[in-house]
Structure formats: C-alpha cells, structure tokens
C-alpha cells in the first residue's frame, strides 16, 4: 500500500513529476551518449593506429622498441619464423624492415620513416591498402613507393613520378633507391601520413644492404581477444633477445589515455549525479512542504517516522527508475541508428584527423556505462530524497496538522 500511495502521489502533480522525470532522463541520456561517443572515439583511435601500422603484436630484437635503428634489426629471423609457423592457425603474420630516412623529389625533400613491407602479407595485418586514394597499392619486388597525400603535396609529385629515398646503412654509408610513385594514401591520422612511406621489403633490404634483415614481425590474431595469450605463448617460445610486444606496449600513450578516461568518466558521472541531486532535493522538498498537513494527519493516525521516510524515498526511487528507464530507451533510440551510420563530424575533420580519428564517429555502448547509469541515477534520486524525507520525519504532528 505504501508503494500504491507513493505512486499516486507521483501522479498527483503530473507536471512536476514530469519535469523531474525529464531532467533525470536528460541526465541519463547525457551519461550514456557522452560515454558511448567517447568510448567510440577512443576505440577508433586505437583501432586506426593498430590497423594502419602497429598491428596487435610485434616481435623485435630486444631493445628495438627503445632504439628503433637498423643496428637493432633482426639478423637471423629463422627461429622466429619457425615459432610463428606453429601459430599459423591463430594469426596472420607479416615482416617489415623500417628505417628513418629522406624522400626527395626535384622540388623538395621530407624526413620520413621508410617502411619496407611484403605487400601481399601486409594486407592481412594492416589496413594501409584501404587508404589508397590515388593509384594502386604496391606490387611485390618492384621499385614502387606509396606516399601520403601530404608528402606528395610537399614533394610536389604525382602518380608515376620518380622520387629518391635515402637512408643510412649499417656500415654508415648512405643507401638510396629511385622509386616510382605507385599510389597515394590518406589515413585518418595526419601526423602518421606526414611521416610514413611504404616500399617493398626487398627494395628496402637492397637499399640498406641487409638482404636478410628485418625490423619487425607484425602479427594479427584472428581473434583479437587472444592477443595477450598469443603474445605470452610467443614470448615463452622465443629467446630473451627477442621482444614480443602487444599494442598496449607499442601505443602506451593511447592505452593510458583510455585508462585515464575510464577513471575520469566517474567525475563526469559525479557532476551529473550532483546536478540531479539538487533537482530532486528541490522537487521532493516542495512535495513534502505541500503535504505537511497530510503528514501531520498520517502521524496522528499512527504512521511511524520510518514509514513516512520510506514513503518519500519510495516516490523518489520510482521517479528515478522511470526517468532512468525512459532515458535508457531514448538513448538506445539515438544510439542504435548512430552505431550503424556513425555520426558525421566532417566539420571538425582537421582536429579529428590530427588525433587519428575519422570524421565519422561510431558510438560504442558498454555494459559498464549502462550498469553505472542504472546504479548512479536511482541512487542519486534516493539520496536526493533523504533530506526532504528527514525534514518530514521531524515534523511535529500537531503543528503539521495546523499547516494549511
């Protein structure tokens, strides 16, 4: 019966209840969608960086991560290849030779990371082939090069033009190759684009005079949830002078950014809960003050303070639950279509690209976001109703009955 009375009291002042439900709903929508877009944005940053270059796992010679020079490249990759052969059923593998160097045209030159890849294998571990905006992807064993739009513009070259790449060899001499621009790529990360060029692995090895050396193996598990497990398996099968790194080690800043977000989102939740708290205190206080006379009568006929407290809290919990349920429903109605079509933020393309995010953000709704919302909002409503409920409990029956 207490819940029946609480419910009828909610319906009694429909406009006020509706305003409170709408404010709770807006809080819920803000919590869910802000989190969904933030998670989506960060997941895209991570996926783009993993997809464009890093891959999920890399194997280097120990010390390469700290000092990525040719000197720290892998001279004899036989053992690693043998170990990786056993993982054929669980992942794709590609090999690369990477060095810092210069790419020059007749007009200009640019300092870049020259990445030698096996074009066919690379397709299986990264997505650079998907970002070709002009021309074609690399062929095997040719003198072709892939440049980004930004680099091509800087060098003032077009498809088919020749550029020269130069880099230091192991012995200190300078190796160079003339390459024809086969394709121009453009990823979501303008910083990455300005600093990377791709050539076939054989061309890189030939230019650097290291026909058998490679810098890294890039490994992408078929099931990316198995990344840590596979990395652990590889690390235990390889000698200590090889380092097995997951994307968490290779992209520490981004991973830390996500961890920091996961913690700081609670500050955002707290701000919303705090704002709601005051709304609920205000509304419930008004409701209690309007019903002072009724509470006096209830006390007179024997209603205990505890029951009065419970009744007011029940009203607030109902309002919290309704507002949360409607908020979740509206959030889902916004989220579901946007999760398929994405939210086009082309207006902010420059800043988004500098962060390595595409212009279309695909929100991701996490279970933790929903659980936090379902817990935080009704709890805030309950806490918010406590002060008005305590005030109602302190009413003196005889004075309350006199209140009109």
């Amino acid at each position: 019966m207490t819940s029946k009375i609480a419910w009828r009291n909610i319906l009694r002042n429909k406009r006020r209840s509706l305003i409170l439900i709408i404010s709770i709903m807006i809080g819920v929508i803000a919590m869910i969608l802000t989190d969904a877009f933030s998670v989506g944005m960060m997941q895209q940053m991570l996926t783009n960086q993993i997809g464009a270059d890093a891959g999920y796992i890399q194997i280097h010679k120990s010390g390469y991560q700290a000092n990525p020079s040719l000197k720290n490249s892998i001279a004899d990759a036989g053992l690693i290849r043998a170990v990786l052969a056993k993982e054929q059923s669980s992942c794709n593998v590609s090999e690369r030779l990477r060095t810092l160097g210069l790419v020059s045209s007749a007009s200009n030159s640019a300092g870049v990371a020259i990445v030698g890849i096996i074009p066919g294998e690379e397709k299986k571990v990264t997505t650079i082939h998907k970002y070709i905006v002009k021309g074609n992807y690399l062929s095997e064993n040719t003198d072709e090069i892939l440049l980004s739009t930004a680099t091509a513009e800087k060098l003032r070259v077009e498809l088919g033009d020749k550029v020269v790449i130069m880099a230091s060899r192991l012995d200190g001499s300078v190796g160079s190759e003339a390459c024809r621009v086969a394709g121009i790529f453009e990823t979501y990360d303008s910083g990455f684009d300005q600093t990377h060029v791709y050539i076939p692995l054989r061309t890189a090895q030939q230019m650097l005079g290291v026909p058998d050396r490679i810098s890294e193996f890039v490994i992408n598990p078929y099931d990316t949830k198995q990344t840590d497990l596979i990395a652990l398996r590889l690390a235990s099968a390889l000698p200590h002078d090889d380092e097995v790194l997951t994307y968490k080690h290779m992209l520490p800043v981004l991973v830390m950014q996500i961890q920091v977000y996961d913690e700081t989102i609670y500050i955002f939740y707290a701000i919303i809960a705090f704002a709601l708290l005051f709304g609920i205190i205000n509304t419930m206080l008004m409701a209690v003050m309007e019903r002072t006379h009724e509470f006096g009568v209830d006390m007179a006929i024997g209603m205990s303070n505890k029951r009065i407290f419970t009744m007011i809290l029940t009203e607030a919990i109902y309002l919290g639950i309704i507002g949360t349920a409607v908020g979740i429903a509206v959030s889902c109605a916004i989220f579901i279509p946007l999760s398929h079509s994405g939210w086009n933020l082309a207006t902010f393309s420059e800043s988004l690209n500098s962060l390595g995010i595409g212009t279309t953000i695909y929100p991701i709704l996490t279970a933790s976001s929903l659980i936090n919302t379902v817990l935080i909002i009704p709890i805030s409503a309950t806490i918010g109703a406590m002060y008005p409920a305590l005030r109602a409990m302190k009413l003196q029956p005889v004075e309350a009955i006199r209140t009109v």
């Binding site: 019966m1 009375i5 009724e294 209830d298 006390m299 024997g302 029951r307 029956p397 005889v398």
Partner: protein
Amino acid sequence: MENKHIASEIVRVENVRKTYHDNGVPVDALRGINLVVSQKDFSVIAGPSGSGKTTLLNIIGTLDKPTEGKIFLDGEEVASKNRRELADIRLKKIGFVFQAYNLSPVLNALENIEFTMMLRGIPADERKRRGLTLMEQLGIGELADKRPNEMSGGQQQRVAVARAISNDPRLVLADEPTANLDSATAAKLLDLMEQLNHESGITFVFSSHDPQVIERAHRLFILKDGQIISDKKNV
C-alpha cells in the same frame, strides 16, 4: 502510580499545564487540568473558542506534550514516551476524527479506511473485508471507490469515523467533528457515533461547542481560559 488507576478508566489527566510562547510572551493554554474519562463514556469537552479544548484533546491524543503534568491512557503514562512509542500508542489505542475530515486525497474511501489497518500490519484480504463491513455498517457501502473530492462533507466524515474505528481503538477523539456539516448531517453522524458507543463500547471524547454535540454528552467538561470550570456526569 499506574496501579492507582482503576480498570474502567481510559483517560486520566493530572495537573496538566500547557504554555505556549507567542513572540517570547508565555501564554497559558491549559492551567492545571484534571479529568478522568471512563471506558464507554461519550464525553464532550466544551467551551468557547480559545478556551483550550483542542489543545487538551491534542494532549490526550499524544499529538502534543504538556508543559507540566501527566497523562495516562489505559493506565499507561504517556507524556514521557518518545515519538515512536507515541505513534504506536496512537495507532493501537486511539482513533481520530478531525473537523476537516483529513482523508488522504490520493486514496479512495475504502483505501482510507484500510490505511490505518495497513499500518498495523493487517493482511490485505482482512483489511478489505473489515473495511467493507465497516462501510456497510456506517451506511456508506456504495462509496468504496470514491475519492474524497467525490464525496460530500457528511460522507467524508463517515469515512473518517470508519477509519478511526477500523483498528478497534480503546478511544476515539473527535475534534469539532460537526463543525463543517449542516445540522441534519451532523445529527446523523452523531447518531452513528452514539450507536457505535452503545453497541461496540467505544469511548468517545469530543471537543465541541456545537449544542447538538453537547446535548448528547454523557459527561460534559466545560473549559474556560484553560481551566475546567464544570464537570457534569449523565447530563
């Protein structure tokens, strides 16, 4: 002290004073009241406005505390009890009928009657059965689904009486119960209360200056300036 009270006493008021402070100025609402109400009494506390009738009724009903003196309800001293204990006493031993009916506007007639039974923890089926029986007994059986704003003053007051007696209280306190009713409706209500007094043995204490109420009193206390100036039995 409690042993002094004889079994037939339901209310004993001993040397009760009540002083209010109006902007720091003490105002004596009750000045040394002594009275005894016996079981099955149909008592009226009468007096002009401001004589302290309602204050006395509120103190007997444990809604207010005396500044001095003692109140015994059913042999139990109540002035020193805490809020929770007083709420429990009111729930189990006292029924209230107010001048303005004071039914819950969000509950229908039957639910208003059931409400006090619910507070006592009586199961829903039993509540409903007793509530409907009471409504039939009080001639308002057809009003079960009506909300207070759909009932006349007389009907609301009958529901209030039903609510007051629904928990089988030892005592019903009625504060000016006929003040908002026309004389015909007031007479019917008083008939009903007299009937309950005779048939169920419920003790009634009224505060009123309505001659219709006063003339039905078995016992009449007349209050003036916070003091009982007359205590008549079998009037």
